[in-house]
């Protein structure tokens, strides 16, 4: 038995060292990062060199162990040995490289996903502090004037704060929930603007369960108020309409005012953020457009695929 085991043991030792060395070389020379056209010839050359090395080692060891026979040096034996060695090494190399390529690609995928997540978090709509403090100020005045209304207002405000805290952790929410937040927001702005702000909703029930980025509708409506209605002495109207068209949900937000796309600054932060969020979540299949529909109406259209 020990005599039978000896060649197997010595063979294992050769291959162990050989593969270990080639792994070190691979790492040092960063072969994994090279293009395949460059890698394959180099790898083949390496494998042939190593196969010959193993053959020579084998002869040396046989000589030392007194197992040496003159037929070992024949060209047929040489070729056969080298080819067998090369075969083993090719199998080893393919397993090694396949495994590492796979690992590398999943890692870069994971990295990409993490980056997107981070970008999304940064882009998440933050509640505008100006709005919160103005709302609190109006509520304070309401406490004397209409206590019951001030209580409702506090509920609206806490709903919005809760949504913005909870939704911070979510990537998507249903349009239904988003509409509720938007309505809370508008209820508070109506207290501030009084008769200067009118609102209107026209929602297709089919769209209620469509997934949308949280706080995006609210941001777009807020934009319309901030840049449109709040600048007009007589105030104006905000309307939100949703419908289904060719497998996409079309969300239309109209507000009184004029959209001024000044060329230097480009679109404002709210719009830019919303656009980037849509792109990160849906890629090319979602769209956000803002135009002046007529002399005193701005139309913001969001198109989102019904299923992500």
């Amino acid at each position: 038995m020990p005599v039978m085991m000896l060649p197997i043991l010595t063979e294992s030792i050769y291959f162990f060292f050989i593969t270990h060395i080639s792994r070190k070389l691979n790492k040092k020379m960063e072969w994994l990062k090279r293009p395949t056209t460059e890698l394959v010839p180099k790898l083949l050359l390496g494998i042939i060199t190593l196969s010959i090395t193993v053959y020579l080692l084998r002869i040396g060891v046989s000589y030392l162990l007194d197992l040496y026979g003159s037929d070992m040096l024949s060209s047929i034996n040489f070729l056969g040995n080298v080819m067998a060695n090369a075969f083993v090494l090719i199998i080893w190399a393919s397993i090694y490289f396949t495994f590492h390529y796979y690992e590398q690609s999943t890692q870069s995928l994971k990295y990409e996903v993490a980056m997107n997540e981070m970008k999304l978090n940064q882009l998440k709509a933050q509640i505008n502090p100006h709005f919160i403090f103005n709302a609190l100020n109006s509520i304070r005045a309401l406490v004397d004037e209409e206590p019951s209304k001030s209580k409702t207002a506090i509920n609206h405000l806490s709903n919005i704060l809760r949504s913005s805290l909870v939704l911070d952790k979510k990537k998507l929410t249903s349009l239904k929930e988003e509409l509720a937040t938007t309505k809370d927001y508008l209820a508070l702005e109506s207290i501030r603007f009084e008769e200067r702000l009118q609102t209107e909703f026209n929602i297709d029930p089919e769209t209620e369960n469509v997934s949308v980025p949280p706080m995006m509708l609210q941001t777009l409506v807020e934009n319309g108020i901030k840049h449109g209605i709040s600048k007009l002495k007589g105030g104006g109207r905000v309307s939100v309409r949703s419908r289904v068209d060719l497998g996409r949900m079309i969300l239309e937000i109209r507000n009184t005012g004029q959209y001024q796309n000044n060329g230097i600054k480009g679109p404002g932060q709210g719009l830019r953020n919303s656009r980037q969020r849509l792109e990160l979540i849906y890629g090319e299949s979602a769209k956000l457009e803002i135009i002046n529909e007529n002399k005193n109406t701005v139309l913001t259209t969001v198109k989102i695929p019904l299923h992500e």
Partner: protein, 237 residues
């Protein structure tokens, strides 16, 4: 002290009025919901103090101040406006953040100096050394007391206002400004300059019968020949 409240939100005006009930020294003359309304009221009522919101439909609070020749004391009221408040880093000015807190309001009102005697402003409608003007140049704003202004220099459709280390521009003609300023304190040195007489340090004869006036701080302003005669007459006993 006679005050105006200027804010586009009715509830905000109401809340401030209520808070001010605790301060009998503040008499509220009226309220305005936008800059144009406020402008009319300020000109007709001549208040000593404005409580002024910055963001309003139409013109902003800053734009209102730019429209005024003489600016009363101003306390800004705003919900949250980093940009607007940053504008005032250059000179101390008070502002109240909404919702306004009683303690903070108390502090602000205590800090206000008593108004100048009303009689003076009524007999002398032109601007003198004790008046202040609002100057906005780009992102920066100043309330400048006329005492601190060394001279004005016309530059196209604008006037450069020289005070401290600043020389912001205001959109006005030098002729219009000259009419607003009282001639005891200010002198039209030439087509280009109006000088503050209290800053004059020395006077030297200059070419063509003109004069060269040296101001404290080192600025030199030339008085044209035509104005030199007037200047001599004015400065001699």
């Amino acid at each position: 002290m006679r005050a105006l409240i200027i804010d586009d939100e009715r509830l905000a005006r109401k809340e401030l009025t209520k808070l001010l009930e605790d301060f009998p020294e503040i008499e509220i003359l009226g309220e305005a919901a936008n800059a144009d309304e406020a402008f009319e009221l300020i000109n007709s009522l001549n208040p000593d103090l404005l409580f002024l919101d910055i963001q309003m439909p139409g013109k902003t609070g800053f734009e209102l101040l730019e429209m005024l020749d003489s600016v009363p004391k101003v306390i800004f009221t705003t919900a949250y406006d980093e940009y607007a408040l940053k504008a005032f880093e250059v000179n101390a000015l008070d502002y109240l953040l909404k919702p306004i807190q009683l303690d903070r309001l108390n502090e602000t009102i205590t800090k206000l100096e008593p108004p100048k005697p009303v009689a003076e402003t009524e007999t002398e409608p032109k601007l003198g050394l004790h008046d202040q003007v609002f100057v906005k140049d780009g992102d920066k704003c100043w309330f400048v007391s006329l005492t601190d202004i060394r001279y004005f220099e016309s530059d196209g459709n604008y006037i450069k206002v020289f005070f401290e280390n600043f020389k912001p521009m205001i959109h006005k003609s030098l002729n219009a400004l000259d009419e607003k300023l009282n001639d005891r304190d200010f002198f039209r040195a030439s087509r280009k300059h109006i000088i503050n007489l209290s800053w004059v340090e020395s006077i030297e004869p200059w070419f063509n019968g003109g004069l060269m006036v040296k101001l404290k701080g080192g600025d030199k302003v030339e008085v044209s020949r035509r104005q030199a005669a007037k200047f001599k007459e004015k400065m001699s006993l």
